[in-house]
Symmetry: C4
């Protein structure tokens, strides 16, 4: 197995080792989890148990293969221990080993395969905004924890109160504090199944207070998360944009104070090849700087290509606000977007940039006449 | 049909072709959707089936007419392909064709008419804030998608867990993973129908975690949307106001930096004719600049008209804060509103504007004595 | 009745005419609404129907009296038509007339008295933050309306879909579109009574989408309101503080630009007499300026009184951060609060203010030694 | 008991007197509340009633002991009355006395022990973010109270309306206004148990309005809390950071205006000993200033210790953005964190700080070569 026979396989192995989720991995996760769900539906399983079993074994085989490839890859790079104890390594190991271990331990097969739900966890590290969400949760963990304690406090006090008030009337559902706790959680989260409901007037008053507290807890929770998220979004955008800005020659001439200022106004946008950025005749409300890649301007009679460091879309902001030509990427490109709002402010604060953009716009107008 | 006999009809056709929703269209949509709903109520339909049928056919006829008029209009303007594949074009085509096609295909009439619910979609493009909402959803799609993936992850893990914990006790409702998924979605969204409820202690603990996660998912979701919405509102207001500001001579004298500054303070307001803007004796907490249209000041003994570029309402901000005279529009007008807060800041930052406003206020005071 | 015999009654009449809610009015509203609720409880009413009837008639008499007093008062001030058509006037008229008119029209008494719930509306104009809430709802009405339309769209599409999918299985609950609408509203608001629940797999998928949309609608709604509320709070605080600031001599010397700047840092606080503002030994994180009223500083061995324009609490911010003396109001007072955060910034930006405060603090330290 | 025999006991008594929650207290609260819950579960209690009783009495003994120790401690410091009427004092007294008093008063033991839920309240003062939450609730109490009144208004109007509409069809559940109130609260909080559900068409329309109002009330509530929380977080961070900043010599040279400016950019972080702050090879997105404590930099071949006033982590921000060395604390330390975003702005605004940091970074680079 050390030297794969076919180059395609070699490439497949390299892709599997190098990136977290290949297309094959997405397919395997989807098929695996769906088959696992199907396995539990008696009627479906009896009709097609061969297919379901085959798919499950195929998915398992893929995940074992993926794990082994990565183990070998990491071992070669002398990063094996780091990988084994990283989140991704643990998820890979679980995906490859959980079901076989359960089967070997003698767990009933249809139960053992349920561990296939762990395959779904492989998708998690690939989610784009996850790092951002985690930072918000970490930074705001203090207040969030406070709200959780308040939540538990209300749940406990309410369930003891309801236990006292309702135990004689409904011994089945409020007969013990743990039973009443179930009611309290269902009520405080405003889920309200209705399987356990207080019926005495005093019990209902306590319940009403719990429901209103539920709204309060919820509001605090949301307020904290909204606050943290707003700060994090600002920060994240700045970090991603900063590096790009300082590489665009147009901005590099500005001093560091002005660059920090400009960075707050720009937004990074990554685009695949052959994507239309501007459509002729549309409303123009932003201009673009090319940080990496290339775009093609579709002028009447000719096509102009613009490379790194160039800008486009400024004419709709300066003169009439209709786009004069369509623009699309020719390769994977990273653009910096400057909104009309910030364009005005930028032009006002940095007259030299304004002059450069004006000169270029005039040159282009003349050229296209 | 090429040359309509009556001018009123010609006007009606022109209005139908040119605007998305005429008054007739609003009536047709309302009547059509209500009749469709009535059609499904057996008792009502048996009593009045002739009326209901007649109304439905009338609405359908209107929508077919509307579609044909627009097709002709677009064909003349050589924009037919653009229209056909635009959102509005697809909705128009669906409204005109869905029911007839279903009837022709032999679908039972009372089922076919249910497709009339698609007529309701015609209202969508006319909603004022929709563009803003869509931009928020697009810009925040990264984090929103992350939350959605977390949501699905929790739903899947929870339903497998509950399936394992509850399948022996409640084979009917937790007997398969798809059945348990239903419970998980109902619980995580805190809807809580109560048709499926875990009853084992372990199952209830998992359910409690799911409910609390539901609050968390909800909070993140709201936090993201709130953040995006705040940014979008600021941006949207700036864009709408910018253009108007630069047309008011009073502000045009300022340099572009100051205009950007002023724009952040103003709010655009569009008013129909004969609307009272200021009521005599009310508290005054803002002043107005006329960007377009005309207003009438109702002074004791005479009525003064102010046109484009003029301002009013400044006297309550300078002296006593009661309005000295009622002001109302004489035609459709666009005003720029300057709040008291920003008035103070503006006066302080731009002494020349302050002087102009003071001089005008004194002139008016003298004149009215 | 024109010239009341006893001065107390005259005073009572004056208070009733002049203010929206007197203490008597609060009592009457509470007693009236509670009696009305009691009236509907058969067992309670049969036991104490004389008392309940007596209380209701007494409350009604009070509200009629209140209305007549106000009518006379307004007629004397020639503001009768304004009052009659104002919100307060309509509520007063409803409170006085609704029950008698219903009784005269022959409505069954126990039903007629239910109109007493309208008395509760009298409390509304007295709620402090209501004006603020209304402004938020008005300013954000555009986006809120869009969300409402999206809500209705989802409700309609979902109920037609469920009607089609479930009508054969559950003709009772999904047999007509209006019946399905009930389900859709209960689900989209995440209320989830559980009286109507889809049971087919396809129906449940649609329901899951509706529930997730419910979270989205909710998030948008909250995001819009949070954004509007943040802006409104800032504005409201500025307006209330502005006027007070310019009356404090300490600040009046600053130019208008600096006053606008300072106003953003201060918060207005209204206190009744004999309220302790500062407790000796507590952590000091703000200082106070007296805009109106008087305070008493409880120094060892003597009591010092400070009047309008004076400031206190600055020593904890300058030196050690423990309060050196207790301070309490002697009459109704209006204070301006300057937080530690803003104190630092203010001192840095306005060195002359810093010098004044420093000098006063030193003078006080010397004096108290 | 006045002079404890063993030093360990003396230490234990001192810890109990001085701090709100010792580790022993956390154990006692957890064990006590769990035992109390177990007591109410008949089957569990019959199996292990000796253990449960023993644990409960042990916990009670601990809380009585704790209370007595604190009473003695406070009496010695002449702060007994302050303590007795403080929140902590009342909670301590309740924890020590509630159960014994109930037992003495002849309450049935298994009911009396339920008062043990009050022990849980002891945890509350130790929650970190609680003071912040309380400030938000106090500052925003005006608008929150308005929303509560609106909530009650809707609840009352809705329940009277439903009582009228549904009383003939469902006399059991809507027969009186108090009964209908239960429905209204359950619906307006979107809990929706489903035990009481309107069935007439008119009743369902009112219910739909109530549910939509519920979303509105909820949105307002959340919006208010989010706004208040954002302001409070900013303020709280400033206060905690301010004091620390002015003690770092690096910043002390700046004038007060610049310090206020810098404080807004920094975030305080308290760390226990032996915590890794920077991991070699990780992405660097912030630098650190040591306000108190000491850190150890793990350079190749040697370990360098940095004390109070030093800074580290700046090299990843200046040059390549990978961390060049791991850094960990050697004792409990307080650090000031400067994010990359704010680093750029700071460097631009204060060139002298930039020069100092640059010089130090170069010195370090040379030294490590």
């Amino acid at each position: 197995m050390n030297k794969p026979l076919i180059p395609a396989l070699a490439q497949f192995v390299a892709a599997t080792a190098g990136r977290n989720m290949t297309k094959a991995a997405y397919v395997a996760v989807s098929v695996g989890v769906l088959s696992m769900a199907l396995l539990t539906v008696n009627s479906a399983y009896q009709t097609a148990h061969r297919w379901v079993d085959a798919l499950l074994w195929a998915c398992l085989a893929y995940f074992v293969f993926e794990w082994l490839v990565r183990l070998r890859h990491m071992a070669r790079q002398r990063r094996l221990p780091v990988y084994l104890f990283s989140a991704a390594g643990v998820v890979d190991a679980l995906g490859a080993l959980a079901v076989p271990v359960a089967l070997i331990c003698g767990v009933e097969p249809r139960t053992a395969w349920l561990l296939g739900v762990l395959w779904g966890l492989k998708v998690v590290p690939g989610i784009p905004g996850l790092r951002q969400l985690r930072r918000v949760l970490v930074l705001e963990s203090g207040p969030l924890f406070s709200v959780l304690v308040i939540f538990l406090m209300v749940v406990f006090l309410a369930s003891v109160a309801e236990h006292v008030l309702e135990r004689d009337v409904q011994p089945q559902t409020f007969g013990s504090v743990p039973a009443a706790l179930w009611w309290a959680v269902v009520t405080l989260t405003t889920t309200g199944y209705g399987d356990v409901v207080p019926i005495t007037p005093a019990g209902r008053m306590v319940a009403a207070l719990v429901m209103i507290s539920g709204l309060g807890v919820f509001g605090l929770w949301t307020g904290i998360l909204a606050t943290g998220f707003a700060a994090e979004t600002r920060r994240d955008n700045f970090l991603r944009t900063w590096e790009t800005v300082s590489k665009v020659p147009f901005f590099a001439a500005l001093g560091p104070a002005a660059i920090a200022d400009v960075t707050h106004m720009l937004r990074t946008m990554d685009l695949p090849a052959r994507t239309t950025i501007i459509r002729k005749g549309a409303q123009g409300d932003c201009m673009y700087f090319i940080a990496a890649g290339e775009v093609e301007v579709d002028l009447p009679g000719k096509k102009v290509r613009l490379g790194e460091g160039a800008f486009f879309g400024e004419m709709a902001l300066l003169g009439n606000n209709k786009r004069g030509a369509s623009v699309s990427t020719t390769k994977v490109s990273r653009l910096l977007v400057l909104d009309l709002v910030d364009f005005r402010v930028l032009m006002a604060r940095h007259p030299d940039l304004a002059a450069t953009i004006d000169a270029e716009a005039q040159r282009r107008t003349l050229e296209n006449k």
